[in-house]
């Protein structure tokens, strides 16, 4: 607990009436904004690394399970249990194994991403119309070519939808990563949870980060799936 509390430094709180009244203080926020910069980037790093690793694992599993259907149930059940374990509990369950820090937080966050992405990739692949696949086969595509050139591109809307859910969820869960000693914006919220300005800035940055990352994925999706708009316009 002490290393956490050691970081609670409230600068000049007694001299500023707005701060001592526990209000929303633009002056204090401007003066202290630099203390949010490092946690913000820790938060970005936690989110991006966890989602990237989770995406690679879960989409690989989904592609394998797409061909070998018997894998769907066991994978869904295992990732379902991982998804169900509350993140705070997961961080402490991992502490004796992986120790305090970035690794523990990342392992826990990755385990939440798996189920979301696995389900969406699989749904996307399953939704590819049979006629389209037949047409591909008729053109002489091998299974591998069919996967990369037909099935995965047509599954992109669902895959990207899963990625959006995964990113916003992970930004939220990463606010609890400070329990695992990995910093992030949650550490700032927790450090002075009774001070309005602090809670609004740190919480606001987390919401903003989720919104920005969500928008980035949505725009990427629009850019790489132009045909979905053409169909919608008709």
């Amino acid at each position: 607990m002490s290393p956490l509390l050691a970081q609670v430094e409230i600068r000049d709180r007694s001299q500023d009436t707005c701060v001592s009244d526990n209000g929303l203080c633009p002056g204090w926020i401007a003066d202290n904004f630099d203390r949010y910069v490092d946690p913000f980037f820790q938060h970005v790093l936690l989110t991006v690394v966890a989602v990237a690793i989770g995406f690679v694992i879960a989409s690989t599993l989904a592609v394998i399970a797409y061909r070998r259907r018997w894998l769907i149930n066991p994978v869904t059940q295992v990732t379902g249990v991982l998804y169900t374990i509350p993140s705070v509990a997961a961080f402490f369950l991992l502490l004796p194994i992986t120790g305090r820090g970035f690794l523990t937080a990342t392992v826990a966050l990755v385990s939440y991403v798996l189920l979301i992405i696995f389900r969406n990739v699989l749904t996307g692949l399953d939704n590819v119309p049979e006629e389209t696949k037949d047409a591909g086969r008729g053109m002489g595509l091998t299974d591998r070519q069919l996967l990369w050139r037909v099935e995965l591109p047509l599954a992109l809307p669902e895959i990207m939808a899963g990625l959006r859910i995964a990113v916003t969820t992970t930004v939220g869960l990463a606010t609890l990563a400070f329990f695992a000693g990995a910093g992030g914006l949650g550490e700032q919220i927790f450090a002075d949870i009774n001070f309005k300005s602090n809670v609004v800035v740190a919480g606001g940055l987390a919401v903003l980060l989720a919104a920005v990352l969500d928008a980035v994925i949505l725009l990427t999706q629009r850019a790489i799936t132009p045909w979905t708009r053409a169909v919608a316009a008709r």
Binding site: N22, P86, V88, A89, P96, P157, M160, I165
Partner: protein, 248 residues
């Protein structure tokens, strides 16, 4: 692995607190922490269901408000639970009912979205034939749309319930003692108490998921089970506004 043995020992037997003074640990204490945890989660879920199920069914029935119903989930996901609790602590106050309100806000979006989506995905031909048989709007909701929407709606309730159980763990930050107490006040309970609480919270969440999953299967109309082959279970995580329509 030794820490896990100590933690399990904490669950079953009392010991003096590392901070001195009191006894901590043992099944009695775990129950004393779990009961308020369950109360908090239960009351929040009851209120959230009472608000969002009728609203979702009604919006789905009239086919309006889809933007609200679907985006409620997206916005809800983007607000971190810790930030939500912290907002409540500084702007509204601490205590059981304030925290309940925060958890209700957290629980509403998944239930609302899934109730709405559940009604919307009911085959329009089915609704039309119900109307052709002379059913009124209220009868259609009660006898056709509600039963067919139940599996998806229960999916939403499951997601919310597990979320609320998980979030109730950080309730001590808002002045309510729950199973999160040993996690946040580690000085009183010691490391083994903290790990023990983590184990119990994890088991509680998994048990909630399993029980509600069984209820969900029990309320699924037999016709849907025969036709779907598990299709409806996957829908729980899809974003309905991004789904492709089958080419007609």
């Amino acid at each position: 692995m030794n820490s896990f043995v100590d933690a399990i020992d904490f669950i079953f037997s009392e010991r003096p607190s590392p901070a001195g003074g009191t006894q901590v640990g043992g099944l009695g204490e775990i129950w004393e922490l779990m009961w308020p945890h369950l109360q908090l989660a239960g009351v929040s879920m009851a209120i959230a269901c009472a608000i969002s199920i009728p609203l979702g069914l009604w919006l789905g029935h009239i086919g309006k408000g889809g933007f609200l119903a679907i985006n409620a989930s997206n916005v809800g996901r983007a607000v971190p639970t810790l930030a939500l609790i912290a907002f409540f602590v500084v702007f509204i106050g601490v205590g059981f009912w304030n925290l309940t309100l925060a958890l209700v806000l957290l629980a509403i979006p998944p239930i609302l979205t899934n109730a709405y989506t559940g009604v919307r995905q009911v085959n329009r031909d089915t609704v039309d034939s119900a109307r052709g048989m002379g059913m009124t709007g209220a009868q259609i909701v009660r006898r056709v749309e509600l039963p067919l929407a139940l599996p998806l709606m229960f999916g939403g309730i499951r997601i919310s319930a597990v979320n609320v159980i998980a979030t109730a763990t950080i309730a001590p930050l808002a002045g309510v003692t729950t199973l999160g107490d040993p996690i946040i006040n580690v000085n009183t309970y010691g490391d083994e108490g903290r790990l023990a609480a983590a184990i119990v919270v994890a088991l509680l969440a998994v048990a909630t998921e399993l029980v509600l999953g069984a209820v969900q299967r029990a309320v699924t109309p037999r016709g849907l089970k025969l036709e779907g082959g598990g299709r409806w279970r996957r829908l729980a995580f899809a974003m309905p506004n991004d789904r492709r329509e089958a080419p007609t």
